[in-house]
Symmetry: C2
């Protein structure tokens, strides 16, 4: 398998883009990535597009072909990948595999979601499609309710507190202040989180990631080809790519306080790269809800099982801490345009490893980790990165 690197990145600002269609979002991020990489369009051999729920949200499927079309890349093979909220991560992984295998040298990875142009009820129903509609959503659960069950289980099993979960949101908002692409660039306090209304107890409004329009893109290139073509100035190598699955429905899991697929994917990623959790400089985690980041740092081995709440409260995951997490602002404050999130995590890694993250830079960053989760944990994708 060949070494594969990110050689260019593109991103829209996250938020409510009432004046931009899904095509506009794809075009903006995708064109930026092509320009950033220094390649010409005709050098791109394939498109891998991550998108979760465009059918439900904007009435549009066939997002792979649409992406190739709006970026002027026809007739290259263009494919959409979907794994709920991990759609961006699986797009990145399949693109990585296509280059690693020798099939292609240069491909475009695009992630997008246009979420604001539906009624609140429809967006909620669309997001429910990440879980098991038949046994969960049709029975009255909303998606926040599923994570609320996990949060409650974690609290019961390990004594995790609502304040500890709130600390995740506070940290991520603090980081997002310094990210010009973030949806929310305001700091918040523990008190504000605690006083925000319950969405699904114990999760409150400020424990939940928002509804977001946005797109992200990276250009991947075989590392040897990038070097030969002098495209490797800012190249960041993908040194591990792992994915695992778990039951779709929460009710079929052994317990609700751990994410088994994330553990398995992380172990595989560490094995691929010959690294351990202590070797990771920073991590972009899937904090769709605050409790999800706490479960993630446990699954990834940054702290012991059950100690994620305390670990967060003690400041270990802040910039300057032992393992800075979600320096981008995370899904909570950066925003969560679903199909783009797994791609945007790779972009934050690219920025951090190129020492381009400005006021949120992790000093001496050498190895980055991204963790992208689909649904309530039925898909997990873990990537590891280092500077070429």
């Amino acid at each position: 398998m060949r070494s594969v690197s990110i050689i260019g990145i593109g991103l829209t600002k996250m938020g409510e883009h009432w004046h931009l269609s899904i095509k506009d979002l794809i075009a903006q991020a995708g064109s930026m990535a092509i320009e950033d990489s220094g390649i010409e369009r005709k050098q791109i051999e394939a498109v891998y597009a991550g998108c979760m729920a465009s059918g439900r949200l904007v009435g549009q499927e066939h997002i792979g072909a649409m992406t190739a079309d709006v970026l002027g890349l026809n007739p290259v093979p263009a494919t959409r990948l979907e794994a709920a909220c991990a759609s961006g991560g699986v797009a990145l992984r399949n693109a990585y595999m296509a280059i690693a295998s020798g099939m292609y040298d240069i491909v475009s990875v695009n992630g997008v979601e246009k979420m604001t142009e539906v009624s609140g009820e429809d967006a909620s129903f669309a997001l429910g499609g990440a879980g098991d509609q038949e046994t969960e959503l049709f029975m009255g659960a909303t998606f926040p309710a599923l994570y609320a069950l996990m949060a409650r289980a974690h609290m019961e099993e390990f004594g995790t507190t609502e304040e500890q979960m709130a600390a995740v949101s506070v940290k991520n908002h603090k980081n997002a202040v310094h990210n010009e692409y973030a949806q929310f660039r305001n700091e918040i306090t523990i008190e504000q989180v605690m006083n925000s209304g319950y969405v699904a107890s114990p999760l409150k409004l400020l424990d939940c990631s928002p509804i977001t329009d946005g797109a992200a893109a990276v250009i991947l290139c075989a590392t040897d080809v990038a070097k030969k073509m002098k495209l490797d100035g800012k190249a960041v190598e993908i040194i591990a790519s792992a994915q695992a699955s778990d039951t779709l429905a929460l009710a079929h899991r052994k317990n609700l306080w751990e994410t088994r697929a994330a553990k398995i994917a992380a172990e595989d990623a560490y094995r691929q790269a010959g690294l351990k959790p202590k070797d990771i400089s920073f991590a972009e985690l899937h904090d769709c809800f605050s409790v999800a980041e706490i479960m993630a740092i446990e699954a990834l081995g940054f702290c012991k099982q059950g100690e994620g709440g305390k670990f967060t409260e003690q400041g270990n995951t802040q910039i300057g801490g032992t393992i800075p997490t979600n320096t981008s602002g995370g899904l909570k404050a950066f925003g969560h345009a679903i199909g783009s999130s797994g791609v945007k995590q790779a972009i934050e890694s690219y920025w951090q490893l190129n020492n381009m993250a400005g006021k949120r830079q992790v000093k001496g960053a050498e190895i980055g980790l991204t963790h992208n989760v689909g649904g309530s944990g039925a898909t997990a994708v873990v990537h590891l990165f280092r500077k070429v």
Copy 2:
């Protein structure tokens, strides 16, 4: 790149399955394929699931994880691929690439669509997501209307007649009589097609493929591994896998009477295998509408551009003709459970090449071709097969 083969197949009967959920359909076809292949579940290393519009049709995304879950395959990586009506074809292709690259030895390819449990209006809207909703469907076009524009252009440019298009449906119904999995096993006549009501002139009801519930699955295995494990008794090798894209909207094409992506994918497939159109023994084509089969046989080089109507009328595409097409019954009579169709085409090839097609067997079949199209031609996937 390693040789990859199909070592087992599974299929549901196509039709209106009011008593079967999308999970049931996946489980039925997927389990049959595992059993047919002779492997154990634990040998499967990844799942590639093709599905177009489950979000819109049954409110469910995350079809990759769902497939792994209902087949008892957790925690393997499980990914859904979507390219509108070519979703099954791209799932097959990505699974093929994953084995060819050396990443995996054995993977499950699953295709599904549950289409009947929505109102007519919703199914129509969902299918419209294969085209360009913004400029086509939201402006009043239905999906049959897009193909009607192509049919009209083909008639104007080449003198193709409605009777010639009707001959496609008549042939495909005739073939489906002998396929126990087919949705419609009744013969029809040119007169019946001509007298059926217009859906979008010149296309009539009997020019159109139906709304179908169904699933299909194949187990892919590295050919050398299959031989070593003695799983190659009925193995059929994938000797070429090609994909291309075109503009999403018809309005952006150079003309409406050819499918450029299919031409490009076919040329690539022939090049990969070192074969020519005359070397093909039979072809499973994407006849979502009768005119689409006529355009397909032209794009694939079985006859000259513009002569597809006459070629069909003369009986060349019948079993016993120069190039038998859609021996399965095609999308028209076999049924078109969208995400499953690209996988089902591979299954018909497996049957034909193993001399298992019964009364619809093509004598001396050596090379099979499948042609799976997304939308009005924005995606085309072409595979070639031969007996190991």
